[in-house]
């Protein structure tokens, strides 16, 4: 059973928080996007799923034996918010915000209101340094504290993207141990992608993407991130442009789950590939 009270509370807070924001930025012109013939996307190997472990033994050992989540199917959103010095720039912040930082605050709250989940946590790097501001938690007081914290952040300092993402990732992995490996685990990174030296997250992104048993979904809400950046690689992450209010509001597609019908004439490998 999902804790509905938390979702409603969070939505109310987010609505209030976003009321002052002008978010109806123009839709990107689809016609202007160059047509690129993409190869079929790679397939995740289901064959190795049974032999692949996640979370790691190290994470399992860190979680106490008695820590068991009340809801094994809880949806978890771990936010990693970039409030580094580069987020002071106005470039890529859209017409309605004075800086990427202000646009990022709007974007993350917009995304979260569309995908509230059950538990929310927050990692930030800002003038206050890099820290786990809030571990995963729920309840209206927790949500209010997160929103207030986001609103109060000021951009400054370096971009220890990898460190911050690792913090958030570890929180999710521990929660997966508590929930027995069921539920949803989203690491939502709001950034312009300009990592400090030694903090390029590509190895972590690769590690998550290459393990089919790793249930962490990587979501990037990006500003001016180049197409080759690991956090914009759609073979590895869900990418949403921070300046696309419609995309931010859209919410995640529902999972398809199992098909309700069996079509005998459409079940061979070859037929399915057509």
């Amino acid at each position: 059973m999902k804790p509905i009270y938390f979702r409603l509370g969070l939505l109310a807070l987010l609505s209030l928080s976003l009321a002052a924001c002008k978010e109806d930025a123009p839709e990107p012109d689809a016609q202007s996007a160059p047509e690129v013939q993409r190869a079929p996307p790679p397939t995740v190997s289901v064959a190795v799923l049974g032999a692949t472990q996640w979370p790691s033994d190290e994470i399992v050992a860190q979680v106490g034996e008695i820590e068991t989540a009340a809801d094994p199917f809880a949806e978890n959103n771990m936010l990693v918010l970039d409030m580094s010095g580069s987020m002071e720039a106005r470039e890529c912040s859209g017409d309605d915000h004075s800086s990427r930082a202000e646009a990022a605050k709007t974007a993350v709250l917009t995304w979260l209101s569309a995908n509230p989940g059950d538990n929310v946590g927050l990692v930030t790097f800002s003038a206050d340094g890099t820290k786990l501001d809030f571990p995963l938690g729920q309840g209206s007081a927790h949500a209010e504290a997160i929103v207030n914290r986001i609103q109060s952040l000021q951009p400054k300092g370096g971009t220890p993207l990898l460190l911050a993402m690792n913090m958030g990732y570890e929180e999710l992995a521990k929660q997966a141990v508590r929930q027995g490996g069921t539920g949803s685990y989203r690491l939502i990174v709001i950034t312009d992608g300009e990592a400090s030296k030694g903090h390029d997250p590509r190895d972590l992104v690769s590690r998550i993407a290459s393990n089919p048993a790793d249930m962490v979904e990587l979501h990037t809400i990006g500003f001016c991130i180049s197409g080759k950046h690991s956090l914009k690689d759609t073979d590895r992450v869900f990418y949403t442009d921070a300046n696309s209010p419609a995309d931010l509001k859209a919410g995640l597609d529902a999972t398809q789950g199992e098909t309700a019908s069996f079509d005998a004439g459409n079940t061979t490998f070859e037929e399915l590939q057509q």
């Binding site: 995740v44 289901v46 064959a47 094994p72 249930m215 999972t255 069996f262 079940t267 399915l272």
Partner: protein, 547 residues
């Protein structure tokens, strides 16, 4: 000297007694047995460490000396006597060298033609020592799983007959059961015998601790397929007394049971304090003080039940009571052709609950016996083949697409049968393994071109669906248990939501091969409830007799 009666049990020619050597079976002298001498028989079993400890008077009066007194305050002496074979014990019982006899339930039925026709020698069950829990093993040559016992040949001695009968009921075709005084020897010398039930130490020798090579006493190709660690509510050891002695000495009999209970209670405490002399026990029980380690192994392979367990055993309404076990055993013996018809046997007559005045240990031994996390990890680490080999019983439930609920009533009978199995194989893990259909996933990946992040998201979702199904089956199982009055050990249940990682048709290019038929598509949404023997995974169990 006890007087001889004129009665003699004459030759019994049925196949039932083929296990007893003709010289003894043909002619047992029977004596009157009303004198109140108490000689407790001891056999090579872990339970007998208790009796030897109770006779230890090195530091003062022994436990038996202190506790062998009637409720009226009259003291009496309890002696012990070791019997290397059942044959010798039976002869002494009939001759009243001792009025008591150590038997298991099916064994009691098996020998009843020798004891029950004479009202004086009829057996009265008076004490339940407890269960074999690892002390006995089923071994096989050329077979790896219990299901292959179907229609095969198995040899056992009478003391382990309960296990052969139980396994016979759990396979498709009842096996041919041979009762032998020396099943290990019979198995080794007769290659037509596919399976044998032997003591754990014998199994260790015959299988060379793994798969026998034919050297050093092992049998080529012999391996262990099951032990009473899983089937730990099958072989129950008890003490019976002759009816003439019981009628003549009700107070002495009652006081003997009380002394045994007290001895067990004190033994457990002393074992915890590590002041039990296992060297002395091995000398008295196994005939060699050097076999101390083996004696300790035997002790670890049994499970005493305490006063509460004794009360349950004496209550015919209890699931694993004396009466339930006798009736089930005799039904199976008739099915196996070991008896033509059931035989009437006495029920326990002592009011066990009234014995507990000075017994402080009134525990019921239904404590959690598993490390659930270790059991889950062990099952997840097992290959499908290993799981198949270790499966004792299974029930498959099919779900509708996207559904985590199912018509419980449709599976009520199967659940009740599975619960019954879980009580008999109380040392087995109850694994609930759930799967999801992969057809929609294949369509998404191959036809709709899902990106990898979307693929992983769907994999997680399908795993969630399967886990929800496993939990639904667990809840239904527990509900059914409650409805029929079963107490189930929740630590015995493991949950494994496997999503689509184990497709029925295997893999094609790293993806599940599409289902070929609608039936295969339906079967992909399966939940399999299994009773799995986990003998080889020691970390799964919390130790019984280590405290």
């Amino acid at each position: 000297m006890r007087p001889f009666s004129t009665a003699r049990v004459m030759a019994v020619t049925s196949a039932l007694l083929a296990s007893l050597s003709p010289a003894v079976a043909e002619d047992y002298p029977v004596r009157d047995c009303r004198d109140p001498g108490v000689v407790l028989p001891m056999v090579p079993s872990g339970f007998d460490a208790i009796a030897t400890h109770a006779t230890d008077d090195l530091m003062g009066p022994s436990i038996f000396q202190r506790n062998a007194k009637t409720e009226g305050g009259d003291g009496f002496e309890i002696e012990v006597r070791t019997y290397p074979s059942f044959e010798a014990q039976l002869a002494d019982y009939l001759a009243c060298e001792t009025p008591f006899m150590r038997v298991t339930h099916a064994q009691m039925s098996h020998i009843s033609d020798l004891t029950e026709p004479n009202p004086a020698t009829a057996m009265v069950p008076i004490f339940f020592y407890g269960w074999s829990n690892g002390a006995d093993a089923v071994i096989s040559r050329g077979h790896t799983k219990v299901s292959e016992l179907s229609g095969a040949q198995i040899v056992t001695d009478a003391a382990r007959l309960d296990l052969a009968l139980q396994l016979g009921q759990d396979v498709d075709t009842f096996p041919s059961i041979t009762v032998s005084e020396d099943p290990a020897g019979s198995f080794a010398s007769n290659s037509a015998l596919d399976f044998a039930i032997v003591s754990a130490p014998q199994a260790e020798i015959l299988t060379a601790g793994g798969v026998g090579t034919g050297a050093e006493g092992s049998v080529d190709g012999a391996r262990e397929v099951l032990t009473t660690t899983s089937a730990n509510r099958v072989i129950g050891h008890m003490l019976v007394v002759r009816k003439d002695f019981y009628d003549a000495n009700p107070e002495i009999t009652r006081a003997t049971v009380r002394a045994l209970l007290k001895a067990e209670e004190i033994f457990r405490e002393d074992a915890k304090k590590q002041v039990v002399d296992f060297e002395r026990a091995s000398e008295m029980v196994l005939g060699d003080a050097a076999l101390e380690d083996q004696m300790m192994t035997l002790w670890r392979g049994v499970e005493t039940v305490g006063l509460a367990g004794l009360v349950d055993w004496g209550d015919p309404a209890s699931a694993r009571s004396f009466r339930t076990l006798i009736n089930a055993g005799q039904t199976a013996m008739v099915a196996a052709g070991l008896r033509d018809a059931a035989v009437a046997l006495n029920d326990p007559e002592i009011d066990f609950a009234s014995l507990g005045d000075d017994i402080w240990d009134k525990r019921r031994t239904q404590t959690s016996g598993f490390d659930q996390d270790a059991a889950t990890a062990a099952i997840q680490a097992m290959s499908n083949e290993d799981i198949d080999d270790s499966t004792i019983a299974s029930v498959t439930i099919l779900f509708e697409p996207q559904q985590a609920v199912f018509p419980v009533s449709q599976y009520q009978d199967a659940f009740e049968e599975a619960l019954e199995k879980s009580r008999i194989y109380a040392g087995a893990v109850l694994s609930i393994e759930a799967h999801s259909s992969y057809l929609g996933y294949l369509r998404g990946v191959l036809k709709s071109g899902w990106e990898p992040p979307k693929q992983k998201r769907e994999l997680a979702s399908l795993r969630n669906i399967s886990t929800a199904r496993a939990l639904s089956v667990r809840d239904a199982l527990l509900e059914t248990a409650e409805q029929i009055g079963y107490t189930i050990d929740k630590s015995q249940i493991t949950i494994d939501g496997r999503g689509i990682e184990d497709p029925l048709g295997g893999f094609c290019n790293d993806l599940p091969c599409p289902p070929k038929t609608e039936e295969e598509w339906k079967a992909s949404r399966r939940v399999i409830f299994r009773v799995i023997g986990m003998e080889s995974e020691a970390e799964v169990f919390t130790p019984l007799n280590e405290w």
